[in-house]
């Protein structure tokens, strides 16, 4: 396993993380660090443990082993399943969380998020009546309202149209590069991971198979699955996982 490029300025650290659900081990000793302003993509097959890792980092579930150090109260969390009040309007949802986050001007923050999600026109609509993708936009916006120093996004681009994806990544990249926010996101889209993740963490069956740059991952894939080297990256990556027994 390649060494992560986290520097001594790690804002987030996890050591030997273990999480068990009954007899199943969802995480088997994961080590992980991230520095300020880093964008880390977590990829891996279904059930690999991506959500489990992110929710432990978010402080939502407790690990059965190992330790986590995260900045207290400064971790933003966008869950895989939309967490919002479907019987409230778009605006009411954003206002509620802006108030709970104790923003000085919740109305201004709400406006900002409405603009970011492109839902200004539909602010008065009940969330339950929005399309899945639009609900996901609000889900993300609520997570962004936390203005965290560490932002955790669990498959944020699922259900978003290409234009909205572009807007999301534009906003998130700016958070990282300009605000110094550490962003950790999971995705099943290898291209997205490669494009926006400054660093890639590959999980499978609760183990970290790789942690490093996109180029480093391509290199490892070429080395370990040479027969798929001339195919597209996604196919080669699947072959790589296969070689590792997943």
């Amino acid at each position: 396993m390649e060494a992560g490029n986290a520097t001594s300025a790690a804002v987030l650290q996890a050591r030997e993380l273990v999480k068990r659900f009954g007899g199943r081990e969802a995480l088997r000793g994961i080590d992980f660090e991230a520095a300020a302003g880093e964008l880390v993509a977590v990829i891996g097959p279904n059930g690999a443990g991506k959500t489990t890792l992110l929710s432990i980092l978010a402080g939502i579930s407790r690990p059965d082993g190992g330790e986590v150090h995260v900045p207290q109260g400064e971790v933003g969390w966008v869950p895989q399943q939309a967490a919002l009040y479907r019987r409230l309007t778009v605006e009411e949802n954003l206002m509620l969380f802006a108030r709970l986050e104790k923003h000085e001007d919740p109305r201004a923050s709400t406006e900002q998020m409405l603009e970011l999600t492109g839902l200004t026109e539909r602010r008065g609509e009940i969330v339950a009546r929005l399309s899945g993708g639009n609900q996901q936009r609000i889900n993300i916006a609520i997570g962004l309202l936390a203005r965290p120093s560490v932002l955790l996004l669990d498959e944020p681009s699922v259900g978003l149209d290409p234009r909205q994806r572009a807007r999301l990544w534009e906003f998130v990249s700016a958070l990282a590069s300009e605000g110094g926010t550490t962003v950790i996101f999971s995705t099943h889209d290898i291209q997205e991971a490669e494009r926006y993740g400054g660093r890639l963490l590959v999980l499978a069956d609760g183990e970290a198979l790789f942690d490093g740059s996109a180029d480093g991952l391509r290199e490892a894939v070429r080395r370990e699955a040479p027969e798929a080297a001339d195919q597209d990256f996604e196919t080669a990556f699947v072959a790589f996982l296969h070689h590792r027994g997943h």
Partner: protein
Amino acid sequence: MRWLLLKDLQILRRSPLQAFLLVAWPVLIAVLVGLAISGSPSKPRIAFLNEVPTDARVSVGTSQLPNIGVSDRVCERVECVHVKNRAEAVEEVRSGDVLAALILPAGLVDQINSLSTPSPATPKVEVIVNEEDPVKARLVNDRINSLLTQANLVIARRIATEGGKFLNLVLDGGRFTVIGQTIQILGLRNSARILKALRPALPPGPLRNSIDQVIQFTTLARSNLGTAGPLLTRLTQPIAVDKQVVNASTPPLEVFAIAVAATFTLAFVTVLLVAGSLALEREENAFPRLTRGLVSRSALLTEKVALGVVVGVVVTLLMLAGLALFVPLHWSRVGLWVVAIVAGAAALGAAGAALGAAAREVRAVSLLAFMVTLPVAFLSLIPSGTVGPGLYDAVKLLTALFPFKPALQAMTGALDPGGPSIAAALGHLAILTAVYGSLARFALRRFASV
């Protein structure tokens, strides 16, 4: 926390069915209870048909009793619906307009009069009832029985009084009018006096002995018959009831009914709302988001209980205001009502929170809340002495564990000026609030972690 509360109220407003049920249900209960209480006359409605000729009189011996006014006496105790014939009486009963029909047949007085003849008939009245359900049947039987007992008593008293007059006539003598003629009756006392006066005039011998025997008989008869008079009166009511009320704090029935209706509403509104709203946080996946630094679990629980208290107080007060249209309530005690409702709602809300924390979906939680609240509420209404002592103790223990009964006690005490002190009930509710609050916290930690 106030923003969360606001949010929950918004959600409630957005769920028209839920909000409607929450308001309509108590209003419906209020109106029904109100109508049942104010509309049910304390006197039952009875169809009454009196076929007895108005000049018929009950006679004792050769004298007739004055008209005892059967109609007036019956209609004093029940609300009489006068009907013209038997068919009409049957129809009134069948339609449910009246509880029963009472028919005094034409020959009733003759039958009563025959009691003192060598061939007595049994006087009969006819009662028509609609025994559509067993409870009603029993109620009707009890009413009719007590009515007949009272009628029998009236007649018996009359007979006793008249009989007593005859007895006095026999004992003391006097004037007696029969068929327009007045006769002078000598009486035992005067007979004895005359005989005693005659006695010295008779020579000792068999004649004097005979007169001595007669004098002895009159004396004996007088003293024995003298005791018969009071005995006759006693017969009409051999046992006098001396009722002593041990537990004098019983509220009037209608106040108790109102307390029951209000507590039922409060219990369902609060338990369902708190449990459902807590489960909704998890159904919407908002729970982890909220409890990750935005609000503590305790604050979230407090908010839910506060939601239950706010809505519970509003709905219950609305309901009481509705009931006040039918039954005069002591509005001066409204402060106490609020105290009782708040304490009850807090305990019921905490119980709802414990239920809501244990389940993940609103539907499951609503079902659970109904399944727990309904039986406990009914158990809480079982009066002592109606079931076996062991069972009653078990019921008492079970109902003491759930806030319904203490909430009902607090409510009754608050509504009824002469009612029990509500301090004990409030203490009980405070303990239950703390216990269920901790249970809910524990359940949240146990079940709601991801």
